[in-house]
């Protein structure tokens, strides 16, 4: 059952095209074949995926993009959910976040030089945000941007950067003397070193990106420094987090279906194991969480698109899905028994994506702590 039950006809076309593409191009055997690849995916396949309009919601029509519904994150979620189902390794979420950021606050030059390539798949983008502290908030940004001459010098190390090895362009969030500042820089500028990390999700690459006194021109600054950048970073985090939620839901849906099929087929004590109450009750609980995850992922996407209650709804979605998602995949593995623990059975591909996404852009506690602040738990109400 799809994430959003209220898709328009145009959105359904996007959905079925994405599913058909991924079934053909990113079957589990194909995804496994990319395990050993340094990029983790095939750029040519990504270009064809992009040609289906996967990044288009975030890019204006005159630069090759366009949204079918006007709800950018809602549109993107449709494809991202399918990406989750397939455990597709392509750089959809990071490229989307970069495209959205440039489309919203880029200069005319940045927009025309990057957006057409990002939307047609010839340019891959990623966001270098978190650092070794593993925090996914502004306070975690310590990479220094020091003014020098007409430009800046970047020094520091980003970590947990998705698809940094494949990326042609980096969106870098840094700390200047008076607050956050962002840059859009080609990944091949001198002084940038990408060091791959080993990742739990075998169908996704993460890396550290070191900036050793990297000179960047003033033209590389994205938007206005100060308050505008704080808002932009907030939006980037919200877009990325909402999309990761949708992706997790797709993976959970597939994992749950696989497990349900298995429980219908697998016999023990002369009957299908799915007839035992000990498992049936777990399937009922998992369905509750899965349907709840779908409902809140849709609400989170809409809250970003409409910019209403975004911080609260995205936080609720991520904390809920990061909590219940792993519970579902762990139970699914357990219900499979020994076969679920084998390398050749595909369940662990989904489990790895869900567990990895649970921490990506902040885990349960990080989001609960942030929500407590958003809700004002420790702020006394103003007395009348």
């Amino acid at each position: 059952m799809a994430l959003d039950l209220d898709l328009s006809d145009d959105q359904r076309i996007v959905q079925s095209a994405a599913r058909a593409f991924l079934e053909k191009e990113s079957s589990f055997p194909q995804t496994r074949a990319w395990f050993g690849d340094v990029l983790g995916f095939d750029r040519e396949v990504w270009a064809r995926a992009a040609a289906l309009g996967w990044v288009a919601p975030f890019v204006p029509e005159e630069l090759g993009g366009g949204s079918v519904s006007g709800g950018l994150v809602a549109d993107a979620s449709i494809v991202v959910e399918e990406v989750g189902r397939a455990v597709f390794p392509g750089p959809l979420i990071p490229t989307s976040v970069v495209a959205d950021a440039i489309a919203r606050s880029g200069s005319a030059a940045q927009r025309t030089s990057y957006l057409p390539g990002l939307v047609d798949g010839s340019v891959i983008g990623t966001w270098a945000f978190a650092e070794r502290s593993g925090r996914w908030d502004a306070d975690g940004v310590q990479l220094v941007a020091a003014e020098r001459g007409d430009g800046y010098v970047l020094s520091g190390t980003k970590s947990f950067v998705q698809d940094a090895g494949a990326a042609d362009v980096l969106l870098v969030t840094a700390r200047a003397a008076d607050g956050l500042i962002q840059f859009v820089v080609p990944s091949d500028v001198p002084g940038v070193t990408v060091t791959p990390l080993v990742s739990l999700d075998l169908a996704r690459r993460f890396a550290e990106v070191e900036f050793a006194d990297v000179d960047v021109a003033a033209e590389a600054v994205l938007g206005e420094a100060g308050r505008a950048t704080d808002l932009a970073v907030g939006r980037q985090l919200a877009v990325a987090t909402a999309l990761v939620c949708a992706e997790t839901v797709g993976a959970l849906d597939r994992c749950y279906e696989m497990t349900l099929d298995y429980a219908r087929e697998r016999k023990a004590f002369g009957r299908p194991i799915g007839s035992f109450q000990a498992l049936k009750h777990r399937f009922a609980d998992m369905l509750l969480w899965l349907e709840g995850a779908k409902a809140v992922a849709v609400a989170a996407a809409h809250s970003v698109d409409q910019d209403t209650g975004r911080a609260e709804m995205v936080g609720i979605a991520k904390s809920y899905i990061s909590d219940r998602g792993p519970m579902i995949v762990r139970d699914c593995l357990q219900i499979h028994g020994g076969i679920g623990y084998t390398w050749e059975y595909d369940l662990h591909l989904l489990l790895r994506r869900v567990e990895s996404n649970a921490a990506l852009y902040g885990g349960v506690d990080e989001h609960r702590d942030r929500l407590a602040v958003v809700l004002g738990v420790d702020t006394e109400p103003v007395s009348a």
Binding site: M1, L5, D6, L260, A263, R264, R271, P272, G274, S275, F276, Q277, K280, H281, F283, A284, D285, L287, L288, E291, G292, A293, K294, A295, V296, V298, A299, H302, Q306, T308, G309, M313, G315, I316, S319, Y320, D323, D365, R368, D369, L371, A372, L375, G376, V377, D378, E380, P381
Partner: protein, 412 residues
């Protein structure tokens, strides 16, 4: 949480209409100094309250706000459940008698609408919606709750009608009710599901005795009923003779979907501001564990409301199988019990003993009351069976009584 942000233009207009009417015609509920609404649970068992509620309901009925999603030919407003949700949200702060008629309209009225004869519908539904008749269901029996189809109340054919004898239990507010839907066994020589007939039983009829049950929370909302040679005319059969199990299942499906959608029966409505106020009063606002628990409860609550909207709509328009309705009761019970447990934990030693009338007393009572949720209206275990069988199509467990004449089945 209001779903106002999700309103379509039609619902927006309806919301304004409801808002305007309520503010012009109904008293707002008095709020406490801290902005909280008074608890409504437990106050609905006085005869004066019920009489007043019937008068209030008649006003709502005349204005088109009773049975909003019922067809107009039976006295409803002919709108859908989204309108009903909008009305409920808008009416939350007003003195409307929703709780008194909730079961009567949303479970029994709805069941009669789906399964009653045209004559039964035309006669009873307007009276149910207007509050002239309060209905309830008599399902559980002392000999069994979860194994509902094993009921042993006996209905014997007698001339033009039937005579019912047996005992029912766990009905809510039966002392103020007028009619019930009551399944009874009409055949003992067939397997258990095939010998049940659904009757409309007049609770004022001769031979009906109703007694409240003393509960662990100190309340007496639940009753037990004794049926002693109660005469029921044949035109009060709902559905087919010996086909009553289908009506019971239909009723339960309606009940579970409604309980989950509406946030349950007589539950205290506590929003996140109330929870935050509690934490502050306990000096726990800076405690990381307590804060995280609060946020977790708020997230569960929010997700459940979104889920209720999703499933309510999905089941109504056929994009989701009807078996998904069972998730709503399961989820609702989960949220309310986890919340009551968290609040109990925040009371700390205050949950051991307290001066009379304090918040601690309320929290302990709410906790005790919350335990009923995963039992009443079908235990969570039965819900999970139903979800896994009806929504997911998983096979049933083997049973020893399925294909045996009921007279030969071992019973309590």
């Amino acid at each position: 949480m209001s779903t106002e942000a999700l309103d379509t233009p039609v619902l927006q207009a309806y919301r304004l209409e409801v808002r305007e009417w309520l503010s012009a015609h109904v008293q707002p509920l008095a709020r406490a100094a801290d902005g909280r609404l008074p608890p409504s649970a437990g106050s609905k068992d006085s005869p004066e309250r019920v009489a007043r509620a019937r008068a209030q309901q008649a006003v709502l009925f005349d204005a088109g706000f009773a049975g909003i999603s019922f067809p107009t030919e039976y006295g409803g407003a002919g709108l859908d459940i989204a309108h009903e949700r909008v009305y409920s949200e808008e009416a939350a702060g007003y003195d409307v008698p929703t709780d008194v008629f909730a079961v009567s309209i949303n479970i029994l009225g709805r069941t009669l609408l789906e399964h009653g004869t045209e004559e039964q519908r035309l006669h009873h539904l307007p009276r149910i919606l207007r509050g002239d008749e309060i209905w309830l269901q008599l399902l559980s029996e002392p000999s069994g709750g979860s194994d509902l189809a094993g009921l042993i109340t006996r209905a014997t054919r007698d001339g033009d009608g039937y005579v019912l004898t047996g005992q029912k239990t766990w009905s809510t507010g039966a002392q103020h009710a007028d009619f019930s839907m009551c399944p009874a066994r009409t055949s003992w020589d067939v397997p258990k599901h095939q010998g049940i007939t659904m009757f409309i039983v007049d609770l004022r009829a001769s031979g009906v005795a109703i007694r409240p049950i003393d509960q662990i929370d100190g309340g007496r909302e639940f009753c037990e009923e004794f049926l002693d040679d109660v005469v029921v005319p044949a035109d009060r059969v709902v559905g087919e003779v010996n086909g009553g199990w289908a009506i019971v299942r239909g009723l339960l499906e309606i009940e579970h979907e409604w309980v989950g959608r509406s946030g349950g029966v007589g539950n205290p409505t506590i929003d996140v501001d109330d929870l935050m106020a509690m934490l502050r009063r306990r000096g726990l606002a800076a405690d990381v564990g307590a804060r995280r628990k609060l946020v977790e409860i708020h997230a569960l609550d929010t997700v459940h409301r979104l889920l209720a909207a999703r499933i309510g709509k999905g089941v109504a328009d056929g994009t989701l199988p009807s078996g998904f309705g069972g998730l709503l009761k399961l989820g609702n019970d989960h949220v309310i019990q986890r919340r009551a447990e968290a609040i109990l934990a925040w009371s700390g030693s205050g949950a051991i003993a307290w001066p009379p009338g304090t918040d601690d007393e309320t929290h302990v009572t709410d906790y005790l009351r919350s335990r009923r949720l995963s039992i009443a209206g079908g235990t969570s275990e039965i819900q999970r069976n139903n979800i896994s069988e009806r929504a997911l199509g998983l096979p049933r467990e083997p049973a020893f009584d399925r294909d045996v004449p009921f007279s030969q089945v071992p019973k309590n």
